[in-house]
């Protein structure tokens, strides 16, 4: 059928620019879906760090009070002025800070991590998968 033959021609023609883009486009997606964004760490890695981890919960007060990673300190942008000094009281520069929010699609952990780094606190990491990832491993 003519329509089928023509369709196949177009399908094949599109392969050429697509292939080139897949190789050189600066915004091409990474082949591995597991790729960590800058600052992110997998739960397994974080757990291996042991007791020198300070967990930071970037979610709302309600979500934190419902349940959170044991020992985590609440720090969100909403209430930054009230919560940051409390975080500072708990923090020690020898600790590795790991920030989490609800899931991998949630941006809050990235925002809180950025603000922490801007204020001079480091090193700051973000838990890939967030609270969902933690719960799944329990």
């Amino acid at each position: 059928m003519m329509s089928l033959r023509q369709a196949v021609l177009i399908l094949l023609a599109a392969l050429v620019p697509a292939g080139i883009s897949a190789l050189v486009n600066p915004r091409r997606p990474p082949w591995s879906g597991d790729a960590l964004l800058p600052g992110e760490e997998k739960l397994k890695t974080v757990l291996a760090w042991g007791p020198k981890v300070l967990w930071v919960d970037a979610r709302s007060q309600n979500e934190y009070e419902a349940e959170h990673v044991p020992g985590a300190v609440l720090l969100n942008l909403e209430d930054w002025d009230r919560l940051f000094p409390r975080f500072l009281d708990r923090w020690s520069p020898d600790q590795k800070i790991v920030v989490y929010c609800s899931a991998s699609s949630c941006q809050l952990s990235h925002e809180v991590a950025k603000r922490l780094e801007q204020s001079g606190v480091s090193p700051v990491y973000i838990l890939k998968g967030g609270w969902e990832e933690w719960k799944a491993a329990r």
């Binding site: 942008l77 909403e78 000094p85 500072l88 009281d89 520069p93 001079g120």
Partner: protein, 216 residues
Amino acid sequence: MRKPVFFLLLSFFAASAYGQLVFEQPEQSFKAKPVEGSIVAKYRFTNTGTVSVKIENVQTSCGCTTASLKKTEYAPGESGEIEARFTIGGRIGKQEKAILVTTSDAREKPIQLKLLVDIEDQIRIQPELVLWRVGEQADPKKIEVTVADDAPVKIVSVLSDNPSIKAELSELKPGKKYEIQITPTDLSRQGGATILIHTDYPPQNPQTRYAYARIK
């Protein structure tokens, strides 16, 4: 012969809409200054269906945003408005908040309204935190405070809530650039202070910003 059938099909698909409430502007953007306190966004909607619709729940993604409605039931053709108030709090930069509206005609598919606010940072405190380690030399550290060009704000005074950590304000560029010198007196043990930075704006309720000193 074919035309009427075409239009019949078209109207069939148009009528089976997801829910009868249609919002004029489900996504709204604002620019704000922290001193404004809060932003109010009004989401107008109309019941375009053939039956009455009840708004059963309006939920916001955070405590900083509250939403209110004058009434919950809307007849066909009736319009209404959801008012969302976003409290700026300590936030700066681009904020995105969501408001979920659950209606009686589509309970499993709530409508999501978005409120985007870009908050200008009028006062920049860099760095927010100064740190000394125990046993270190008690060298003073500096915090730079910059006021945005068009902001009618001045830094009036600074105060440390811990007398053993001193804070001194000096004006580098009148009204625009300031420097706070923080000097600890005892670095033999851990401690800290909150530095209160008093401004003169707005005149009826001047803002206080914060910086932090810690000895760890």
